[in-house]
């Protein structure tokens, strides 16, 4: 009897220590979501499948607008400078310029300028003998030219600023109206363009306008040098 009582005590003690432990383990299983079981119960295993797609695609549809690319090959601008008219002093010249950029290297350019001739040394010395009337002293020209961007580059102002530049050569044909007549004119020169932004340019240009004139009885070739500063925008 002593032995069986001890065995009973041992078994009770064993049960007392192990059973709560089992309960601890079972507690985890009991906290499983009941939703799964409910869903399984709600959906019949056999029969018609539901119309709902298994995966709801969440694709963002883009609004595609085929906007035209803004092409800026044209350049329009104005300039002011000094024109030296051979025999007739130097004077202010101002003009307008339209350019079309064909490639990164070449462009076409149309310019129109106006100036006014002064008096020759002969007229000043002789006093009253005027070679030209007042309206004949008006000087206008136009030129159709081709240009070549010979030296593209950058200019650095300070540490943090760099602007695109180009040194270009220009040659063309045109007309000069001066001393009451139109004169076929060949012009050429060079220029330097600085772009403070990609749509605006500051130009410094030097041109030589060459034509024949027979004003003083004898035909001679005239070189009129022009230097001007201009501003233009791309569009």
């Amino acid at each position: 009897m002593e032995v069986s009582r001890l065995r009973l005590l041992f078994l009770i003690a064993l049960a007392a220590t192990t059973l709560p432990g089992c309960a601890l383990f079972r507690r985890g299983e009991a906290s499983l979501p009941p939703a799964t079981t409910e869903q399984n119960a709600a959906e019949p295993v056999t029969g018609e499948p539901s119309d709902k797609p298994i995966i709801e695609p969440q694709v963002e549809r883009r609004e595609i607008k085929h906007t035209r690319i803004d092409t800026e090959d044209f350049e329009v601008g104005a300039y002011v400078g000094i024109l030296s008219i051979e025999d007739f002093e130097s004077n202010v010249v101002y003009g307008a310029r339209l350019a079309y950029h064909l490639t990164e290297d070449f462009f076409l350019e149309g310019t129109y300028g106006r100036s006014r001739a002064g008096r020759t040394s002969y007229e000043n010395l002789s006093g009253s003998a005027d070679l030209l009337t007042d309206s004949e002293r008006d000087y206008t020209y136009y030129a159709l030219s081709a240009g070549w961007n010979a030296l593209p580059g950058e200019i650095f102002l300070g540490k943090n600023r760099a602007y695109n530049t180009a040194f270009y050569l220009v040659a063309g044909i045109g007309n000069t109206t001066f001393a009451g007549d139109d004169r076929f004119t060949v012009s050429g020169g060079f220029g330097y363009r600085i772009l403070p932004a990609d749509w605006i340019a500051v130009h410094f240009d030097v041109r030589d306008h060459v034509y024949d004139i027979d004003l003083l009885g004898e035909k001679k070739i005239v070189n009129n040098l022009e230097a001007h500063l201009g501003l233009s925008i791309f569009f």
Binding site: R62, I64, K65, H66, T67, I69, D70, T71, E72, D73, V76, G77, A78, V80, V92, Y94, A96, H101, L102, T103, E104, D105, L108, R114, L144, A146, N149, L151, P152, G153, E154, A162, N164, A166, I173, G174, N175, G180, D181, D182, R183, F184, L195, D198, W199, I200, D214, L231, I233, F234, F235
Partner: protein, 250 residues
């Protein structure tokens, strides 16, 4: 001295209206880079240095185009220029290749408008010529020409309207035939005595060659035989040569 200021005033007004308008935010054109990478240059030309690289798959905005260069802006705000050869491999956001709308030689016949300038000789006088035309069909077009004739003894202007027939437009070097009529104004030089300005009708027949250069550009050379219907008993025949002309279609 008032006129230069009005000229600059006009330019300033133009800049204020057109200039900043080019940077409008509402009409952005986004593309995807499909090349392994695209190099951005600081300016629209091969001479400007490369300063940034965009990898494949990135989305960029096309800001503008100048000649064969495209200004791109990345989502981080880096802005630079990429050449057309690299842009061919870029895609629209839909995955289609980007249509650069190139007027190449294959489709230049579908371009209807053409314009150009030429220099030449009109009966010994120098001539500067500006022309523009519209094509009804691949072969036939109507053309308007203005000439400024600057000679030793007289100056003049002429304006003509005529038909131009290109025989084989798909050839790179193609001959053409032209026929038309117009009006000519002649001013004898003021140094000559008995100078009277004249206005005459002219008719012409001629031919020429056009040579397709590249993209949208063409060279041409032309001869015209003009008949000037003068008020005198005899009509005058005048040879007109356009030695070299440059034209582009759009």
């Amino acid at each position: 001295m008032r006129r230069p200021f009005t000229l600059f005033g006009l330019l300033l007004a133009f800049i204020l209206t057109v200039g900043p308008g080019s940077a409008r935010a509402d009409d952005v054109h986004k593309i995807l880079i499909a090349d392994p990478f695209i190099e951005l240059h600081t300016g629209p030309g091969r001479g400007y240095p490369v300063f940034h690289v965009i990898e494949r798959g990135r989305e960029v905005t096309i800001v503008k185009r100048r000649t064969d260069w495209f200004e791109l802006r990345t989502d981080r705000g880096v802005q630079g220029w990429a050449p057309r050869e690299q842009m061919i491999a870029t895609l629209e956001p839909t995955g289609e290749p980007l249509d650069l709308q190139e007027p190449a030689r294959e489709n230049y016949m579908s371009r209807r408008w053409q314009a150009g300038v030429a220099g030449g000789d009109f009966a010994g006088a120098s001539m500067i010529s500006v022309f523009g035309g519209y094509a009804f069909s691949d072969n036939l077009s109507i053309e308007l020409t203005f000439n400024h004739i600057i000679g030793e003894f007289s100056n003049g202007y002429s304006a003509t309207l005529g038909l131009m027939h290109v025989f084989v437009p798909e050839w790179r070097l193609s001959p053409y035939f032209t026929l038309g009529t117009g009006w000519m104004h002649t001013e004898p030089k003021s140094t000559l005595v008995q100078s009277i300005d004249r206005d005459d009708q002219i008719g012409y027949v001629g031919g020429g060659l056009q040579f397709y250069l590249t993209r949208r550009f063409m060279l041409r050379t032309e001869y015209r035989n003009n008949v000037v219907f003068t008020s005198r008993d005899d009509n005058e025949e005048v040879d007109e040569w356009k030695y070299l002309g440059f034209a582009f279609f759009f």
